[in-house]
Amino acid sequence: MTEATAEAAERAAPQAPTARMPLGWLLLAPSLVFLLAFTYWPMAQSLAQSLRIETFGTDAISWGFGNFGRLFDDASFRRAAVNTGIYAAGTIVPAIVLALALAVGLEAATRFNALLRSVVFFPVLLPLVAAAALFLFVFLPGIGLLDYHLAMIGADRTNWLGDPDVALWSLIALTVWKNAGYYMLFFLAGLQAVPHDLHEAARLEGAGAWGRFRRVTLPLLGPTLAFVSVIALINAVIQVDHVVVLTKGGPSDSTNLVLFYIYQQAHENYDYGKAAAATVISLAALLALSALSLRTLERGAHYES
């Protein structure tokens, strides 16, 4: 479209109902009200609450970093922060590698591939709570789905959710199972945009399958990869439903994640100061992450074919 027609349309689009309130702002108002009330206001409120110190039994209020001090002194929080890091890396890397491999393997549009894609995609639709309910039995020691079938190949029973060294990895496995299909879809879409003749050219030059993947496919999937990584990272921070159902953060905090910790502090211990401080830390991490990835997201949002 040329600038001239764009401007004609701009003129054609009727002007603001009142001179003071441009139509654009008016149309954005409903969204803005809810964004302000449930995104920006709570961010400010968390910051204020985290700096506010109430002394128990008195009305005295002072301000300072006391809540953060108490937060960092809390071994449960430190454990939750470390766990969240392990959990994020442990879910993102295998889920993305698997999703990419599945996308490449199932790219061709055959009936067989369509079936396998559906199978991998099904868990995406399952509520995380429902997945967790199923995995209660999957992880059941001895007679559960995993141990029952592992016993057939002679493996010993494992206390998948009760052993502090294993439990977090069990949750990681559940998350990979749940999310890999979702990420696969993005890679499948990305692969469709890879021009076929590039592959042909590489083949003519004698590149093998792996060479073609590394030199042609992977570089062209760069933006998709970046985008999926951001989504996966956000998911790792905000999804804790399975922790609530399966482990409640235990045994001995080995599966406690930061968001679950926040939930516990607010919902069970009524320690809003610590909950707010932990929220502020999470927000800071997400903001730092978004500053790094805003370009990626924007590219995704701006992309037009």
């Binding site: 149309l27 997945a131 199923l134 039995f137 007679i143 993005f186 905000i238 926040i262 809003y272 707010a276």
Partner: protein, 273 residues
Amino acid sequence: MRDARWLAVACLCGVALVWSTPLLWMVVAAFRPQNFGGLSMASLIPDFAPTLDNFAEALDSADFALLYLNTVIVAGGILVVQLVTITLAGYAFARLRFRGREVLFHLFLLQLMIAPPVLIVPNLVTITQLGLYDTLLAAMAPYFASAFGVFLMRQTLRTIPRDFEEAAAMEGANWLQIVTRVLVPLARPGMIAFSIVSIVAHWNEFLWPLMVISNPDNHTLTIGLATFTRGAESASQWGVIAAGTFLVAGPLLLAFALFQRQFVNSFLFSGVK
């Protein structure tokens, strides 16, 4: 070369097998008689006459009709409000020029990262102050604005040629008529895609409703399932858990089976397209 191909196919089948096992088990166990199984409860072979006993017991121990109703109200209510807010905002970002547009656009972008679950604690305070605690509206309110939906609509609207609007404007239509009569019908694919993603997300939502709802009359399916699972787990009623999970996930799985292509396209739409 041929060998490598077969190896790849074998690997894919292996992954598919592992991936499908939990859901296969869910189906088999849900229909397995309760006195059956015992130590081989994990068996995937349906070597029994199927029964609905597990479903009967699941339906008996939780008020699924109410849970479905509440979930439909919450997911549907969110979607209806969202469709209005994202269409208006999407139109503003796609078609209008006004002061502050870039700043606002970035404010919206930020919500993509600051996902509502992180803000459960301060939002709980707000909801309580608004007097909405323990209502279905509380479970919906934080999702009425969707940055993601706004981007989706903006993108969709930008792919529609302006000729249609110009023609309508020539005939004297105002902006509201242009949006509702011209753009919304043309933007339907984008709106359907968003609707599917939104319904799936809120059908499956758990932590936030858990925070703001306490009265069992207001429970949604996921909260109901979690409560019910706790009871059935302590009684080791795995068949009943499988049946309950089946009931909760069933509608979406069925919808996916029926509208597979539409679902897949919608989820793709939710990202880079």
